[in-house]
């Protein structure tokens, strides 16, 4: 059990070195936001929330609440009139005049204890006048639907988001490639189907928590469980009229994010309150129930698909009309819609494409970023429809997928030429692992057994200029401290960054520390920890910073030794000369420098390397056709398959085994890559089998773990085979690209395909609950 012994791992890239953040996590000493002690000045905040999906606020009376002993004050929408929003600036910190979803913050109370704040919330009297709600995105997109944002046309927006003023459509993304109308008659088989994907919640085990404190001098500090400290600083500083340099965000260890802690969610509330009670830290933590119904959700999707192929199974035409249930406001929803739009074909090469991807305001919870950023929802439809088409044309799905999947050099629906991708290898590996083509008998006569496979692709979805930066600081004891602004959210990014720095610098992995917590005052800038972009983008920044530091070390030694830096290198923490075979430890010299050759003074000095990275080649896309040179930086592609059994007595699906394979370009740490595949697959599985927010009249009927089930240890297949494929990314550090989100993407479609293989039925709308499956079997006459 050689876990904590001192080891030395040189050239760690590609090796499964142990994580550098676990000791604290297994001993209970890792500090999460809620663990920070703030002393007796701390005030607790609780939130008055809308009970209605759509209503006018007629009156707010806080007088009773203010009288409760221990209550310090109440803030409402009257106190803040600015708009906030990551893309489209469409919401206020607290509802003003109108509420648009159940759970929307209307006011916040600050009090000496959480209990008193909560008691005061019940004393705030709000008078509402209910309005007709919009509860379906397709209905909401129609002319005549009640308008949720009459001011949509005047909202500030970036140039790649296209709201349709006078409607509920907050973004309409289009692709027009080739001519689908002309292609349909040439198709030997066509499948048309509509899929509905429910809202799901992220369910990090750590609920949101944030503490804000404003000093008397106006400086604001926010401690938050967040994936986006820099984006929060930018958005909140602007909205609250605080200079960015006076706004500090500290991001302690975070207990899972999955997208829901990206952007600004509830953090604005304690910040707003803190402005009224200077000198007091103001804490807000969401209850698990609030986590379910007030937070950003993975928005629901209605997707109409039509796809056709020739008699040999070659895809010819594809139409995709998506209505995203963006909810009451569009923090991320509009960009999910855009991502769903430019990736709308899935990883398939199709000559004629017509896509309309629309984000629609509804009176549902706000659509956010969720692991996969639209791709799981999209693939739930696209990969099922491909499975259906394969069946219709009489072709094995694996063969069909391989025939049609994208390959390096293909021109995608947006006009972008795709780089080398290993998706075919991924399909082969998954098929092989599942003994594809071998039909195993069920384990009992009461069971049906089947296999299914689905593909996935995803590009980092972000503004074209999302940047990363890093500092590499050399220490006198020969160790290295790496500073980054991207968050360790469990994915292992601090470990991967240490590996990249160590490999680049020529020091052992064990001598590199990554400094946390992220603190916008001290950490270098990072756009956000989202989009599976850190390994690639922040990795590039770290590599550049390490190269910079290395150059400084080598230049110094070269000067001291009178050599050409080109003949020098760093290996195992020593600068070596290939020419003279001399060597010297980097210890001390990286801080104190070296004496000049003539002993007249010193050279060098403390070595700090700086590096940054920003893609400069992503182009805009035409608003009418979606065409452009390069829509995205790259795609990670892969495949997943499952073998399942269906219990004819109850309808319950059991996953017998599963296989996942993704082309990650280069696995910086293969064990961590595999852990992402397993964890992501299981999260996807959970949404395939169990998850869905039960929204009735805008109210979430299952906002707790009792009512909203997620997979437990007893629900997952003991065998999840994972396979890494490596087709190098030309601009990735050591060829790497991201893997954080992708394993979740194909799970639903893979289970649906297996369900069809087992039962012959197409049960297309997740979750594939025991009830849904049983009733479908019953209605089809397969059980009595």
């Amino acid at each position: 059990m050689a876990v904590v012994e001192k080891q030395k791992t040189n050239n760690p890239v590609g090796k499964s070195v142990p994580r550098n953040d676990v000791l604290e996590k297994v001993t209970g000493t890792a500090i999460y936001t809620d663990d920070i002690q703030f002393g007796p000045g701390l005030l607790h905040c609780r939130v008055v929330r809308s009970p209605y999906p759509h209503a006018l606020i007629k009156k707010i009376d806080v007088s009773k609440a203010l009288k409760l002993p221990g209550v310090k004050g109440v803030v409402t929408g009257d106190d803040f009139d600015e708009y906030i929003g990551l893309y489209l600036k469409d919401r206020h910190l607290f509802a003003r005049g109108k509420v648009r979803f159940v759970g929307e913050p209307v006011a916040a109370v600050a009090a000496t204890t959480e209990e008193i704040a909560e008691a005061a919330v019940e004393l705030v009297e709000v008078e509402y006048e209910e309005l007709e709600p919009v509860l379906d995105p397709e209905f909401g997109a129609q002319p005549g639907a009640p308008l949720i944002h009459p001011d949509l046309g005047s909202y500030e927006r970036p140039n790649f988001i296209f709201p349709v003023a006078g409607t509920n459509i907050s973004n309409h993304f289009k692709i027009r490639k080739g001519d689908t109308e002309a292609a349909w008659p040439q198709c030997a088989a066509i499948v048309e189907h509509t899929f509905r994907v429910p809202h799901v919640q992220h369910v990090p085990i750590e609920p949101h928590v944030a503490v804000a404190k404003m000093e008397e001098n106006g400086q604001m500090t926010l401690w938050a469980s967040t994936q986006s400290p820099f984006a929060q600083r930018a958005l909140l500083a602007k909205t609250l009229h605080i200079p960015e340099s006076d706004f500090r965000v500290i991001a302690p260890t975070i207990g899972g994010g999955f997208g829901c802690k990206a952007g600004v969610t509830m953090e604005s509330i304690p910040c707003a309150v803190a402005m009224k009670f200077k000198g007091h830290p103001i804490k807000l933590r969401l209850t698990r129930e609030e986590e379910f119904y007030t937070n950003f959700v993975r928005q629901g999707l209605v997707i109409h698909l039509k796809v056709g192929c020739d008699k040999d199974g070659n895809l010819l035409a594809f139409e995709n009309r998506m209505y995203w249930d963006g909810g009451a406001y569009t923090e991320y929803g509009v960009n999910v819609t855009r991502a769903g739009g430019y990736s709308s074909t899935g990883p398939y090469d199709i000559p004629n494409v017509k896509t309309d991807s629309m984000c629609v305001y509804t009176n549902h919870p706000v659509g956010g970023a969720y692991r996969g950023f639209g791709m799981a929802e999209l693939h739930t439809g696209v990969d099922q429809v491909m499975d259906m088409l394969a069946e219709k044309i009489g072709m094995d799905p694996v063969e069909f997928h391989k025939r049609n999947c994208v390959q390096g050099g293909d021109v995608l629906a947006t006009g972008m030429v795709i780089h080398d991708v290993g998706i075919k290898e991924c399909i082969d590996k998954v098929a092989q692992a599942l003994d594809w083509g071998v039909k195993e008998p069920p384990s009992s006569p009461n069971k049906l057994r089947g296999k299914g496979i689905a593909l996935a692709w995803k590009a980092p979805a972000m503004p074209p200029n999302a940047g990363s930066s890093a500092l590499v600081k050399m220490n006198a004891d020969g160790t290295v401290t790496v500073s980054v602004g991207g968050q360790e959210i469990g994915q292992g990014t601090f470990t991967a960054m240490a590996q990249i720095a160590a490999e680049t610098l020529g020091v052992p992995y064990e001598s590199v520390k990554v400094s946390g917590p992220i603190d916008t005052r001290y950490s270098p800038y990072e756009w956000q920890t989202v989009a599976s972009r850190l390994t690639w983008s922040m990795g590039n920044a770290v590599r550049n910073a390490a190269l910079d530091a290395k150059k400084k070390v080598l230049d110094m030694v070269a000067e001291a030794w009178n050599e050409d830096p080109k003949d020098l290198d760093i290996k195992d923490g020593y600068v070596i000369s290939y020419k003279t075979e001399e060597s010297i430890s980097i210890k001390d010299i990286v801080v104190y420098g070296l004496p000049k050759p003539n002993d007249q003074g010193w050279i060098g000095g403390p070595v700090v390397g700086a590096g940054s990275f920003m893609p400069t080649y992503v182009t805009g896309l035409d608003a009418e056709t979606g065409q452009g040179d390069r829509a995205v930086v790259h795609y990670t592609t892969g495949a997943e398959g499952v073998e399942i059994e269906v219990d004819k007595e109850t309808g319950r699906i059991t996953i017998l085994r599963a296989a996942c394979s993704f082309d990650v370009g280069k696995a910086i740490n293969p064990a961590l890559v595999k852990q992402q595949m397993e964890g992501g697959f299981v999260q996807g599985l959970s949404s395939a089998l169990f998850e869905g927010m039960q929204l009735v009249g805008g109210v979430t009927r299952n906002p707790s773990f009792v009512d909203y089930r997620i997979a437990t240890a007893a629900d997952v297949p003991p065998e999840i085979d994972t396979f890494i494929v490596e087709h190098a990314q030309d601009d990735g550090p050591f060829g790497a690209r991201g893997i954080g989100e992708h394993p979740l993407v194909p799970s639903i479609a893979a289970v649906a395909a297996a369900l069809h293989d087992a039962t012959g039925l197409r049960i297309t709308n997740p979750p594939f609950s025991a009830e849904k499956v049983y009733l479908a079997l019953l209605d089809a006459g397969l059980v009595e």
Binding site: T287, L689, D715, A770, E771
Partner: protein, 297 residues
């Protein structure tokens, strides 16, 4: 809208020294005070704001509430305060009341069962209570200390509606008595949740078969159903069918159908009424087939 407190609101914890004291306090604070055992229902419901309780009266450790006593030839007395894990691990319970062990096993999670009690499950009177069916079929009797002293409350007839029982303010169940089941009994508890473990029952079926010369097949069966009616339900019609005929697949199917017809489930977040009814039929059949196979050996 479901909007629970972050923690418990400011309630008080009362630890009386005697049953009398506890009962007096409970009786004089009707509607405000509750007996408190494992607390796994109390804490959740008070936090939810569903119960406006002001005092939790800890009755653990009061006279008769501790320990498990098995008396050969008579039966088993489970102190009201004994958590489910302790009950399920007890050798006499495992030997003579395996169906109760099976039922306990299906409740929530291990760590919750370290606190949750069977008596709490019964007094909470949720139609979804997993252990109630077994206790009913085993002829369970609650020993209750009330303002008028001790009395027995047989479980059949005890449940009046969701959360409603024969207990009155001031009543404290001190123990559950289960008579010794006839030699050769076989029981089953089948629970269906949305995922494999930890859900509340969409449907729960308890069945118990035991030798009885007066029944046509020589065996009599009891069937209790969870989550399909306002109260834990005995499927008496199904029981009668099984008692009156020689058992075969057809009769089992007939009984399962009768169980299905007897229940009046609702649609809720866990499942629809339609599915629940069908599952009562299927799982009752399964349980009976299982028992029938084993009981004849």
């Amino acid at each position: 809208m479901h909007n629970p407190h972050p923690g418990l609101p400011e309630i008080d914890y009362i630890k009386p020294a005697t049953l009398e004291e506890a009962s007096r306090f409970l009786a004089s604070h009707a509607g405000e005070a509750r007996p408190f055992m494992g607390g796994t229902d109390c804490i959740v419901r008070i936090r939810d704001g569903v119960w406006k309780t002001k005092y939790l009266v800890d009755v653990k450790g009061l006279d008769g509430t501790d320990g498990i006593r098995f008396e050969a030839g008579k039966g088993l007395t489970i102190g009201a305060a004994v958590p489910m894990n302790k009950v399920a691990a007890h050798p006499d319970v495992q030997k003579h009341y395996p169906v109760l062990v099976e039922a306990c096993h299906w409740v929530a999670s291990y760590q919750l069962r370290s606190r949750a009690t069977i008596v709490g499950n019964i007094c909470n009177a949720s139609p979804a209570g997993d252990t109630i069916g077994a206790c009913m079929l085993l002829g369970g009797v609650l020993r209750v200390f009330g303002p008028d002293g001790m009395r027995d409350e047989p479980l059949n007839g005890f449940f009046k509606g969701p959360g409603k029982t024969n207990l009155k303010p001031g009543d404290i169940a001190t123990a559950l008595f289960l008579p010794l089941p006839p030699a050769g009994s076989v029981g089953r508890y089948i629970k269906l949740g949305r995922n494999r473990l930890g859900d509340l029952a969409i449907v729960g079926v308890t069945a118990l078969g035991y030798p009885d010369a007066s029944a046509a097949s020589g065996f009599r069966f009891g069937i209790a159903l969870a989550s399909v009616a306002p109260v834990p339900l005995r499927a008496s019609k199904a029981e009668e069918i099984l008692a009156g005929k020689a058992i075969d697949e057809g009769v089992i199917a007939e009984a399962a159908q009768a169980a299905m017809d007897a229940c009046t489930p609702i649609d809720d977040t866990r499942g629809s009424a339609r599915y629940r009814k069908l599952m009562v039929r299927n799982l009752t059949r399964s349980a009976l087939v299982d028992i029938w196979t084993k009981i004849r050996k």
